[in-house]
Symmetry: C2
Subunit: 301 residues, 2 copies
């Protein structure tokens, strides 16, 4: 597998114009080192907002050129392993997150990680749910800031994006130009204060090109089931589109007419919120594995 790709090789926008920092064959497994979302700039609770370079937020390590990937293909990204540093950081403040209208000053808080828990304070230890906030490929059109999610992935801040899961992205540029960053030691759905427990670390992924199939939005498959992940201007739009994406994905794989599949989704499918604080919001529609198993559904080759 060789050495990890270093976090200093970071982009701040996904773009088909970005120069790849590495090229790999389809099927390769690679280890990627990442900064935290503040580019490791916050090292104490006393960090002043003006001391932070806000142009260096949400770095994603890469991009990686995946050989043979062409626009119209799918890039599958199996998350083999996540390794986190032993200290995370949270931050919130005016105009940030759901409570930004009531907060008077920017505040940061260092959070030690010990024995699989995040030590919020002496009373409260938070169980970890390690996840990847920013992960994706170059978008079709203009560059997209790594702080923004979209059809190319990006800042989806989705809890399901964790060890063992496989993401499927539409490819828009030759080589796909994959990158990831913004790890969280823990985060709740919504990321309501604008940050999770932000942390640096390393992620090992296997990157594989899938030919002959295409996608409009990222899809995630795990041991638990499958999720369509959609980012939009409103939660209502993101949630509804994620449902329709799922139905269009499953419809050709079952013998159910649209009306019956819709009823089935109403009984077993879950509309879920990923984040409500990035410039666009992200929702997902989740279908549990026993439903796929009942119809012997294999979504991707």
């Amino acid at each position: 597998m060789g050495e990890a790709l270093a976090c200093k090789d970071a982009i701040y926008a996904f773009s088909k114009e970005n120069k790849p920092v590495k090229s790999v064959a389809s099927g390769s497994t690679i280890k990627i080192e990442t900064y935290d979302c503040f580019q490791n700039q916050i090292r104490s609770n006393d960090t002043e907002i003006n001391s932070i370079n806000w142009d260096k937020i949400n770095p994603a390590t890469g991009p990686i050129y995946v050989e043979t990937a062409q626009p119209g293909d799918i890039l599958s990204v199996k998350i083999e392993k996540m390794e986190l540093k032993n200290e995370g950081v949270m931050a919130t403040g005016p105009d940030l997150g759901v409570m930004g209208h009531r907060l008077e000053k920017f505040e940061a808080k260092m959070i030690p990680i010990r024995d699989g828990k995040a030590i919020f304070n002496e009373r409260l230890q938070i169980p970890l749910n390690p996840m990847i906030g920013v992960i994706g490929v170059a978008p079709a059109g203009e560059p997209v800031s790594c702080g923004t999610p979209g059809e190319h992935g990006g800042n989806m801040d989705t809890k399901l994006i964790t060890e063992g899961a496989t993401l499927y992205f539409p490819v828009f540029a030759e080589g796909a130009l994959f990158a990831l960053g913004d790890l969280h030691a823990a985060m709740g759905d919504g990321e309501v204060g604008v940050s999770g427990i932000e942390i640096a670390g390393e992620v090992t992924v296997t990157l594989t090109v899938i030919k002959g199939q295409s996608l409009k939005h990222p899809v995630l498959i795990s041991e638990e089931g499958v999720a369509t992940i959609v980012s939009a201007a409103t939660l209502d739009e993101a949630a509804k589109t994620s449902v329709e994406e799922m139905i269009d994905l499953l419809l050709p794989k079952t013998d159910l007419p649209l009306s019956q599949l819709t009823m089935l989704m109403s009984a077993v499918g879950q509309t879920q919120i990923s984040q409500i604080v990035d410039p666009l919001v992200t929702a997902r529609f989740f279908v549990p594995k026993y439903v796929l198993d009942a119809y012997d559904i294999k979504l991707f080759d």
Copy 2:
């Protein structure tokens, strides 16, 4: 406990003008029989949309006058037990639910319940998650259809409203005028096709008036944690309001300043979707029990 309140004593709108069908002392336990959300009108897969009386949808059995309840109090409703009939029904069609724009005709589907599973078809059995769709008290102002959710509860279609949970409602009318109906044998978050597995049954609840505290929106407490439940015109508004309601509920119960509590909620709190298909949509913010335990928080007396 006496006989169950009969489902024929049903309302189709929550209103402070409704005449109570029963009066009980605070602290009483009562069994309530309910129609399904179609008032048991759909008995076969061939049911035509025009054969259904659409004025008789979402019946809620009641209202029950709870002695001593006054506007400004809280009514707590402990869901002691749910008993379901052995056949449910789903329906969807044009202009109903997320896929309504692509469906050509109204369709109903009877779904037998056997051995704790809903038999969707010969391939697929769905595990049950029994829950109550419509539950609430008379609203402050004009009558509100039982198909619509709001600050008074109503058609919240929230999966967490199930056996063992306790709901807390703001009281707007003398006696609270409590009613419930619209049971589901199973439903996914979102209720994307417009129905869950709709079913008639019986629910046993304990109704208790809490004096000296008040609420703006319904709150639910279970063995797993606490949720603020908010209905609004958009999911974005419902989700954000549910977060702020939770923070205002917890802030006086901890020693954390607003900024720190916001960070904590960002790490451990979950924005969740209840339903996206009723005239208003419903979201909730969930905080797990270990967080309340760490601060010895008791929300209601």
